[in-house]
């Protein structure tokens, strides 16, 4: 009887040990998946920002990829801060916890804040940079800029 109980104790010890090991493997897999998810979200936000009709250049109603209209950019920023909050609320569902800016690189110029959100403890901060053309419709001229997208967890 004592022998049987001893075997059972060892058996359950092995089962519990094996189970603990399995849980740890699962947890590391979960962490990896979470990181992949964050990376994916960063790319999604960058994609959304680059192809937003509210910012994109268009000629004869044809959108130009990787081109941002400076007047639209300015209007977008003002609408986000000036309106009754519905504008910001809508775009916060689109961009989530992120910070999107456009920096005029050549000729050197200002940095425009497209969208920003206050994050107290930013975790898994991921940055994506997209080179873009910046179009000024009044002077019909182009500059070179960088669209930077920071996403947080």
């Amino acid at each position: 009887m004592g022998e049987t109980i001893a075997i059972l104790i060892i058996f359950f010890f092995l089962v519990i040990f094996g189970f603990g090991f399995y849980v740890r493997v699962q947890q590391s897999g979960f962490q990896r998946q979470k990181l992949e998810g964050t990376n994916l979200r960063a790319i999604q936000v960058a994609q959304k920002a680059s192809f937003l009709p509210e910012l994109q250049c268009s000629f004869k109603n044809v959108q130009v990829d990787d081109c941002i209209d400076l007047i639209k950019l300015d209007a977008f920023g003002r609408s986000l801060s000036n309106s009754d909050g519905s504008f910001y609320q809508y775009y916060s569902t689109v961009f989530g916890k992120s910070d999107i800016r456009v920096q005029m690189v050549y000729p050197p110029g200002p940095t425009y804040i497209v969208y920003t959100t206050e994050v107290t403890k930013p975790e898994n901060n991921l940055s994506t940079f997209v080179p873009v053309a910046l179009y000024n419709a009044t002077s019909k001229s182009y500059s070179f800029g960088i669209l930077s997208v920071n996403t947080y967890e």
Binding site: L8, F51, I71, T138
Partner: protein, 347 residues
């Protein structure tokens, strides 16, 4: 009874109890794992669908078949909270505009993306369905231009056909069938004989009434109740894409909620275009007259879309028509004139 005999019996009882405990433990672990794996697949598929829909938001004019696990994806809208559920996991898709049937079955999804230009690009509409779902376009007159155009434009991967006589339809036992009538009279919307045996919830219809250039018109959604179709409600279209939307989605509320979301986006995009036009009006003096003329239609679009984003369908078509005139007639004309004068365009 000897002590050894009693011990032997106790041993057997002990083995039985311990064996049951061990068996129960492993069954529990397996059941938990099964549930966990299903949930994981659901979450993974949900994340994949999120990626697909985001990709669709930024690309246009694409149709693709996507392989998915055979879990079934349910789309539903309750108080305009539009959600999809996969394997027990539910996700709200908030700002996205997805027209899909209530259930997508099978291991393939057909995803089709088109950009909603009214007349400037506002957003992309994503149409999802299963290649196993059957769509029947019914042109009773045999000469409806819109029916022909819709049939030609829908993706090849979609299981559809254009018929002139509903009685020629045979039952192919699809899990869902959607009938799209073109300019039919209410009395002509009847359940075809062969489809009488289809479950009520799996057979739906829509009657599309629109004339050239097919940018406005009415839609009436029908549900099968027993042996006949009963109207669920009437609503409106703006642009041919909303006609496709009414064909893809079999739910009246889902259609209207998607349109409300589209009008909300239209309102935001219009605000940006209005601000841009103001800047151009002040900075490009040579074209200021033409910019000035566009203020009124832009104002109308902003005002009407602001109403339609909260109340849709409206009680009369006049509001949609007013939006159509401002957008597709007046604003398009202004933009064309600006092009002719080599001025920066509105959109």
């Amino acid at each position: 009874m000897k002590k050894a005999d009693i011990e032997l019996q106790f041993n057997w009882i002990f083995v039985l109890i311990v064996g049951t405990v061990i068996l129960a433990f492993f069954i529990g672990v397996v059941m938990k794992q099964k549930g966990f794996a299903e949930q994981k697949t659901g979450v993974q598929l949900s994340a994949d669908l999120e990626t697909i829909t985001t990709g669709a938001e930024v690309s246009k004019g694409t149709a693709q078949i996507i392989k998915v696990p055979q879990l079934g994806i349910e789309f539903r809208s309750e108080d305009c909270l539009r959600r999809y559920s996969i394997g027990g996991g539910t996700k709200q898709y908030r700002e996205k505009i997805i027209f899909a049937p209530g259930l997508i079955k099978g291991n393939e999804i057909l995803a089709w993306t088109m950009d909603w230009n009214v007349p400037y690009r506002v957003t992309n509409f994503l149409f999802l369905t299963s290649p196993q779902m059957r769509y029947i376009l019914i042109d009773l007159s045999g000469a409806n231009e819109l029916a022909f155009q819709v049939n030609k434009s829908l993706p090849n991967e979609m299981y559809r056909e254009l018929v002139t006589n509903p009685n020629s339809i045979i039952n192919n036992r699809n899990y869902k069938v959607r009938l799209a009538y073109f300019s039919a009279l209410p009395s002509q919307i009847v359940v075809p004989d062969e489809l009488q045996s289809v479950n009520d919830k799996d057979l739906t219809a829509v009657n599309i009434v629109s004339s050239t250039p097919y940018k406005t018109g009415t839609l009436t959604f029908y549900e099968k109740k027993g042996s006949s179709f009963q109207p669920v409600g009437q609503t409106y279209i703006l642009g041919i894409l909303s006609i496709y939307g009414a064909i893809f989605t079999d739910d009246y509320e889902m259609y209207n909620c998607n349109m409300k979301e589209a009008f909300k986006k239209m309102n935001f995009v219009t605000t940006i275009i209005q601000n841009r036009t103001n800047v151009l009006y002040n900075d490009v003096a040579i074209c200021m007259d033409e910019y000035y003329l566009s203020f009124m239609p832009l104002q109308t679009i902003a005002a009407e879309s602001s109403i339609l984003m909260s109340i849709f369908p409206v009680s009369s078509q006049a509001r949609v028509d007013s939006l159509y005139n401002a957008a597709f007639v007046e604003l398009e004309s202004s933009n064309r004139n600006l092009q002719l004068q080599s001025c920066p365009e509105l959109y």
